[in-house]
């Protein structure tokens, strides 16, 4: 077996907000170039997982490790994680009134990729191409970040940032929610172009299998009550679509009792 350093390695992660535990021992390994999906119902700990990878200050890690290319992520501030190559596409992107999209993109690229990357013709052409691919009009650049954006615009804007920031690991938290089928297709195409054929890995968090038809994940994990109760290939998504989560619930209860 060849020794590849995993892109993301989560080991026995226990975490929550304050005293209430949410994650109760998660293990997950994503290798470079792989796409994994986490599925599960509301409240199963999906968003918590995403927030902990990015370093949301509200969450506390009780035990376990999160490593990016073998480096301890939990020691880093969120912006340091971003600069190390972690990207989170938010379920609820925040509005920053008065901060222009163009300005924000340039600043973000500059702080993650360096000043040079945010200057000159190359940046402009990358930006132009990415906006075209995502069907985002030029006028978007002078709007304020997520301020008055429709649900679909917010999600496309997250993917635009993904394409410009070119992270090592992209975590997409419910990027498909609230999108119609065209929106999902556009967003999926964006994700594919950011990940496929590169060493970038992705973790897609979703309720539904729809987006997974367009972004074919290598592995699917089902999260329930803060634990991964099932992992498998793309066929798992189809099974979930057909049978729902109940059979897993029964299964995990039975295992819990054993």
């Amino acid at each position: 077996m060849g020794q590849v350093t995993p892109l993301l390695e989560i080991r026995n992660l226990h975490a929550g907000i304050g005293e209430s535990p949410i994650l109760k021992g998660i293990d997950l390994v994503i290798n470079p170039g792989e796409i994994h999906a986490i599925m599960g119902r509301n409240g199963s700990g999906k968003t918590t997982t995403a927030n902990i990878i990015m370093g949301h200050p509200d969450y506390e890690v009780e035990q376990g490790d999160v490593l990016l290319s073998g480096e301890d992520l939990l020691e880093l501030e969120p912006w340091e994680r971003a600069r190390s190559g972690v990207f989170l596409s938010f379920q609820y992107p925040q509005a920053i009134p008065g901060l222009q999209v163009g300005n924000f993109l340039r600043k973000s690229v500059s702080s993650i990729k360096g000043d040079e990357a945010a200057k000159g013709a190359e940046f402009r052409s990358t930006l132009k191409d990415a906006m075209k691919a995502l069907d985002i009009p030029r006028s978007f650049l002078s709007r304020y970040v997520n301020d008055g954006f429709s649900g679909g615009e917010k999600k496309r804007f997250e993917i635009l940032q993904l394409l410009l920031l070119k992270p090592k690991l992209a975590v997409l938290d419910e990027t498909d929610s609230g999108l119609d089928i065209d929106g999902i297709r556009t967003v999926a195409a964006g994700v594919n172009s950011a990940v496929r054929g590169t060493s970038t890995g992705a973790l897609i968090i979703t309720h539904y299998s729809r987006i997974l038809e367009h972004v074919r994940p290598d592995r699917i994990h089902v999260l329930m009550g803060g634990r991964i109760v099932a992992s498998g290939g793309p066929e798992l998504a189809i099974k979930l679509e057909e049978k729902g989560y109940e059979w897993l619930e029964v299964k995990s209860k039975a295992e819990g009792c054993a």
Binding site: M54, P57, W79, I96, L99, Q161
Partner: protein
């Protein structure tokens, strides 16, 4: 306070009149009397009517009680006898660079302000070496018949125009501090724009670097004749270090029919300064007056740029921002008087308070019974950065004509952790994230400023946000 203290030691108990410290041509005076007022006027060689105006104003100042609103207990701390009312020398002070507090010098450095300009801003030198720029702009304006002078020269060269308009917008009996200014004014700008002349570029280039403009009691008068337009920019975003604790200016604007005046200010006085300024304009028929007013510095600012909409179809706009940090109180707002029909006004006020700072919006919009179909819109937004800080809103609308259409919106918000986290996830440190939110909040103001001011204001707010994350 260094200069005052040194000078006070030099003059001892000699409170009135003049004194020449050794090895210096500078005259200091502490405290005020009718004799001092007359002497200021005599030293300047002013016409008799101005001397009498000053004396009348002085008498009114003495009799007039302190304003009963605003931060009155702080106002009572002002020691009028401890203030130097006139510096004779044009070479303002003999202040040493070393006397300028270190935090202010650091801020200059970090804003990237050249040393020569830093020294001017601190009052260490009176002139900034940019005479060439100043002259070319001035020549260009002169060709169009624009008069652009400091107020003292204006009075010497155009006494008739000044006599006609001086105190016509802000009468000497207006308020205690306007009376004080009228009694002891020095410096400020006098601008006359002839009929139909449009001054294309904002006229700030030389005022930023002209020491005469920045004084304790400057007096500015701008007259835009029919159909003309001008954008005047006063002050600067960089810290203005003053050893004098009172800044009390008066600005009068007259926009004749169809004229357009925009007056932009950003004040960043050091936090020992009481900044008590009366700014008012009269807009004649179809004229437009805009105040763009930013308050970053000072201990206490009380400033309510006002517009009297005297002519039909005239328009007023007041866009202001205020930042109150530790120990600061920005009591700012706007006053609009709709005297004529079909007049419109818009007030946008934004304030940020932090580290126990206090920001107040105080506004008055009045519609007179005869003014029909007026439209007025008031929006005040406050952003409070921590639990110790405070924001108050005192909006007043007196609408005496039922055809008026009034809109008022107010909001108070806090920076949310989720906003910060969102920005941090894009590679920005917590302080940078906070600065981005704060600058975004001020953006509707900043975008109205000339570019270099906008950039500097953003940098300045970023500096203010440093060390604020606990």
């Amino acid at each position: 306070m260094t200069v005052n203290r040194e000078a006070r030691e030099a003059v001892g108990d000699y409170k009135a009149g003049w004194h020449d410290p050794e090895n210096s041509t500078i005259r200091f005076d502490f405290g005020l009397s009718e004799e001092v007022v007359r002497e200021i006027s005599a030293l300047k060689g002013e016409p008799g009517w101005m001397t009498e105006t000053r004396v009348k104003a002085y008498r009114h100042f003495v009799e007039r009680p302190m304003p009963t609103w605003g931060n009155t207990h702080v106002l009572e701390d002002i020691d009028f006898d401890g203030i130097c009312y006139y510096l004779r020398s044009s070479d303002a002070t003999e202040k040493e660079w070393e006397d300028v507090p270190e935090d202010i010098r650091n801020t200059f450095d970090r804003l990237g302000i050249p040393e020569a300009e830093q020294k001017w801003l601190s009052g260490v030198t009176a002139q900034y070496e940019s005479e060439a720029v100043y002259h070319s702009i001035r020549e260009d304006l002169e060709k169009q018949g624009v008069i652009f002078l400091d107020m003292d020269s204006g009075l010497r060269e155009h006494p008739d125009i000044i006599r006609k308009w001086f105190c016509s917008v802000v009468p000497l009996t207006d308020n205690k501090f306007a009376a004080l200014n009228t009694a002891v004014w020095s410096g400020g700008s006098f601008i006359y724009i002839p009929k139909g002349v449009h001054v294309e570029m904002p006229v700030q280039a030389y005022f930023r670097i002209n020491a005469k403009n920045m004084g304790q009691f400057e007096r500015t008068l701008i007259i835009a004749d029919e159909g003309s337009s001008v954008h005047y920019v006063e002050g600067c975003t960089a810290p203005t270090y003053s050893t004098d604790s009172l800044h009390s200016a008066v600005v009068e604007l007259i926009a004749l029919p169809g004229a357009h005046i925009r007056y932009s200010t950003v004040q960043n006085w050091s936090t020992n300064v009481y900044n008590l300024v009366t700014k008012r304009g009269i807009a004649h028929e179809k004229a437009k007056i805009e105040w763009v007013d930013g308050n970053i510095g000072s201990k206490l600012t009380m400033k309510y740029p006002a517009v009297i909409l005297k002519g039909e179809g005239s328009h007023a706009e007041v866009i202001s921002v205020a930042y109150s940090g530790e120990g600061q109180h920005q009591d700012a707002g706007a006053k609009i008087h709709h005297l004529a029909s079909n007049t419109t006004s818009k007030i946008l006020s934004k304030s940020i308070s932090k580290n126990g700072g206090r920001g107040s919006y105080r506004g008055l919009v009045k519609v007179s019974p005869k003014a029909k179909n007026c439209k007025l819109n008031v929006v005040c937004d406050a952003l409070i950065l921590d639990e110790q800080s405070r924001s108050d809103t005192y909006p007043t609308m007196e609408v005496a004509n039922p055809t008026a259409r009034c809109e008022h919106e107010a909001s108070v918000s806090k920076v949310s952790d989720n906003q910060l986290f969102y920005l941090m996830s894009r590679g920005h440190s917590e302080e940078e994230a906070l600065a981005m939110i704060v600058n975004g909040f001020f953006e509707p103001f900043t975008r109205e400023l000339p570019m270099e001011y906008a950039v500097e204001l953003n940098q300045l707010m970023a500096l203010e946000m440093e060390g604020s994350i606990g």
